[in-house]
């Protein structure tokens, strides 16, 4: 839709985004593949992790040489943080390394599921919001937690569809729908998408955007999958706005009876 015939910008904390597909930058073969896949996805928000620089290999390349921060909104995340303290520390480092107050906040509760520690998430979000951060929280598909995150000042919430990297698709569509109905800030479905139909479905349910990484980076052809995801998110969004027909048990003829022999 971005750049197409139905301009439909997503607005979060006063910032306007053209694409409703947001992408991660992990798990690609190399930076060149990362760059191409992101370009094919049409995304303008790109999430990145914060890590120690490699001080032994002087020739190691920088991700930002491939993803121009002038062209993309760089959204640092606190991936890998299991405590409030770590998540806050990584967020502050991200702000110092970057140019904006945006952070995709993750406080992970468990290594096997990578489900968020929602109590820690709320605590960390409060600290960071007080420091002027724009906190986009990676949360569970729990409507009450989503509500609380909105109440404390998160300008969007990012509930999961399924565990990170699982590709299981939307495991709890009813909870996601409740979140979309009850939360008054944009809802970005983050994590768990496996293929294009999952992304389309999330958008048809009324998600404001979808964030994914593994579904694209882990595909046999990441660049082709990035293109598929771009179409899926656009198609799902258009279908949502156009308004689907109600489901009925029996047929309704689409051709008139009149004029039949």
């Amino acid at each position: 839709m971005n750049k197409h015939s139905f301009p439909d910008p997503l607005i979060i904390a006063g910032r306007e985004f053209g694409s409703r597909l947001w992408v991660g930058t992990g798990k690609y073969k190399d930076f060149e593949e990362t760059r191409k896949a992101i370009e094919a996805s049409g995304a303008d928000v790109v999430t990145v992790a914060v890590r120690r620089v490699n001080i032994t290999d002087r020739n190691s390349e920088n991700l930002l040489d491939y993803i121009d921060p002038k062209k993309y909104t760089i959204l640092p995340n606190t991936a890998g943080c299991y405590t409030v303290e770590d998540a806050v520390r990584y967020s502050r480092l991200a702000r110092a390394a970057g140019i904006s107050d945006l952070v995709k906040l993750e406080v992970i509760g468990d290594e096997r599921t990578l489900f968020p520690d929602t109590a820690g998430l709320i605590e960390a979000a409060k600290i960071l919001i007080a420091e002027g951060f724009i906190v986009l929280p990676y949360t569970n598909d729990d409507p009450i937690v989503a509500q609380k995150l909105m109440d404390i000042g998160c300008p969007a919430v990012m509930p999961l569809a399924a565990p990170i990297g699982s590709g299981l698709g939307i495991r709890n569509p009813y909870n996601l729908k409740i979140i979309m109905e009850t939360v008054k800030v944009p809802v970005i479905v983050d994590a768990g998408v496996g293929t294009a139909s999952d992304a389309a479905l999330a958008m048809e349910y009324g998600a404001d955007a979808v964030l994914m990484n593994t579904a694209i980076a882990g595909a046999k052809d990441p660049i082709m999958m990035a293109t598929a995801m771009r179409y899926a998110v656009d198609a799902g969004r258009l279908a949502f706005k156009a308004g689907r027909i109600p489901r009925k048990l029996y047929a309704t003829a689409s051709s008139p009876i009149e004029g039949m022999l």
Partner: protein
């Protein structure tokens, strides 16, 4: 330079060498050394990194004037590819 700083400067200048920890790695460095000097010696562009010294995050404008001291723990971080949480390594 006030007298106290001058004494400290003298004290370290005599030794010339200090030990600091950079990203978990112990390094021998000549003293004085600013954060900007350190980044330059590592071929790192200051606009791409964040620097923490003894758990205090520095403002980029402090890099050229921040003198590292014997025993300092320095963390230099940057953005890398990542979408969402990885398992602890």
């Amino acid at each position: 330079m006030i007298f106290h700083d001058f004494l400290i400067h003298q004290q370290y200048s005599r030794s010339f060498i200090m030990h600091i920890i950079v990203n978990g790695e112990s390094q021998e460095r000549s003293n004085p050394l600013t954060v900007a000097n350190l980044l330059e010696s590592l071929d790192l562009r200051s606009e791409r990194v964040a620097v923490e010294v003894n758990l205090k995050i520095l403002d980029r404008s402090e890099f050229p004037t921040w003198n590292l001291q014997e025993g300092d723990t320095v963390e230099i971080v940057s953005f890398i590819g990542g979408g969402a949480s990885q398992q602890r390594s």
